[in-house]
């Protein structure tokens, strides 16, 4: 059960390969109605029926928030992943009926900002595309610095540069172009908010540099969806529902709980939002915490786990679920 979010029955209306790795999908309501409004930075959780496996992956919405006829997402193929992105690339064709969640925004613009400074790495560009459409409609002040591997893998770089030539800056790894971050941050007027979406290393680099330069924590925003990592299978006892379940090698703990028919709360399924936080009643073994929601003390306490991305190795684990 996703906390407070209804599901939307949709039909895939368009599948467009963007480049070698990225494909764009467009969803319209199957009943022909309008989609709920959303704000730039929001994501939807896409349900994928892959044989006996049900996958639920979050993807940032990249369409114009003012356009309620459809949502679009872009999915980067991850050949080493658990299969969600491969399923999207291989099995999702125009006409397919699917279920997605209502939009949820864990990466909103702070509209009190006098300027929005956006830093994107790779597929981390997608939430910014919706945010830029939202800001452009209200003559908002933004600047995008977008780091890509090569020109051929630079999803939407041409469109963004053409639409906003003075506001969009592209950096190509293969040409050794690097964002001059310290200089960039140092020159920003008071009231600028900083947003970063991309690989973990980039988020850490941007956050650390901003902190060292005295940027207030409240003015720095990031989003990183973690894919649930695979690992050794393990057994869990669910105390409230009185069930013993097995978590498979490529399954997340949350997915195993859901597969057992137990209703567990979730929102982002990527370790970011905190919705699925679960109390540990007892354990004998080692936690493999992967979220960025719980504090280090909570990780060490053995009292909490985020079942969307975290795992366990050991003899017994009993959860309050």
């Amino acid at each position: 059960m996703s906390a407070g979010t209804d599901k939307i029955a949709v039909t895939v209306t368009n599948v467009v390969p963007v480049n070698e790795l990225v494909t764009r999908f467009r969803f319209a309501r199957t009943d022909g109605g309008l989609m709920p409004t959303f704000s730039g930075g929001a994501h939807t959780v896409v349900e994928m029926k892959d044989g006996a496996t049900m996958r639920l992956n979050p993807y940032s919405l990249m369409s114009d928030p003012a356009d309620r006829t459809a949502y679009t997402i872009s999915v980067r193929r991850d050949d080493q992943g658990r299969g969600g992105s491969l399923f999207m690339h291989r099995n999702v064709k125009p006409g397919l009926e699917m279920v997605i969640s209502n939009p949820v925004n864990l990466f909103p613009l702070d509209l009190r900002a006098k300027k929005h400074l956006m830093i994107a790495g790779g597929i981390g560009i997608t939430p910014f595309i919706a945010q830029i459409k939202q800001l452009a409609a209200s003559n908002g002040n933004f600047e995008l610095h977008y780091s890509v591997r090569t020109a051929s893998l630079a999803s939407y770089a041409d469109e963004l540069s053409t639409a906003h030539p003075t506001r969009v800056h592209i950096y190509h790894d293969d040409k050794k172009q690097v964002i001059d971050l310290e200089n960039l941050l140092d020159g920003q007027p008071l009231g600028t908010h900083l947003y970063v979406c991309g690989p973990k290393g980039m988020i850490k680099w941007v956050r650390g540099t901003a902190e060292g330069l005295g940027w207030p924590r409240e003015a720095v925003h990031d989003e990183e969806f973690l894919a649930p990592p695979s690992g050794k299978p393990f057994e869990v006892k669910l105390a409230v529902s009185n069930k013993v379940i097995q978590v498979g090698e490529h399954q997340s703990l949350l997915e195993a709980i859901e597969a057992a028919g137990v209703d567990a709360p979730y929102l982002c399924r990527g370790g970011a939002c905190g919705q699925c936080e679960t109390d540990v009643i007892g354990y004998d073994g080692k936690f493999l915490h992967n979220d960025h929601w719980l504090t280090e003390e909570q990780h060490a306490s053995g009292k909490k786990i985020m079942p969307c991305v975290s795992r366990f190795e050991g003899k017994t684990l009993v959860l309050d679920r």
């Binding site: 920003q188 007027p189 008071l190 330069l213 207030p216 409240e218």
Partner: protein, 203 residues
Amino acid sequence: MPKTAFEPSIKSRPIYGTLEPRPGKSHLMIADAEGAEAILDLAKSTPKGMFDHTHIIYIPKKTGETFTGRLRELNPAQCYVGPSYEAALPRLRRVLNDAHMGLQVYLSGSEGLMGQAMLEATNAGIPHSAIQTEHRGSTARRMQCVHCKGITEDVTTDPFQCAHCGLHLFVRDHYSRRIAAFQGVRVDAEEPGNVPEPVERFK
């Protein structure tokens, strides 16, 4: 004079901390009266060279020359000593207008001074939670009359008489960040004329 301890109160009542050096390429310190002592205490633990990038705006009020010499001895990049907050305001606005992200703001002294400077800094785009404050000296309050909206500065008694409309006002802990003032409400609204004897609550 040490920093002030306040009674616990309602959530909207501002609370103040102790100034500490933070990383940043420029620093703005604004103080009135005994607030200078918070800057002098802070200076004991600042990294070398921090005052080369520090702008001090200081309003001595009744303390006169007591602290101005010692503040200047810190050798800040700029040190402005002025007769009133209003006199310093154009300078403060200019500094904030030209500043970049990473500017650290340190406020110390009376609640009225810190509240008004905080308002300018937040209007300039700094989150209020990122601005450091330390209370020193007078606990007199800057009050807004909720009836006529007039501001009465340096209120020391409760109730007090509004300097604008003359109503007798009860001093509340209810604080407005937008106005940078506590709220004063008519004390004899139910029974006009029945005004309790003013008590000196603030010094």
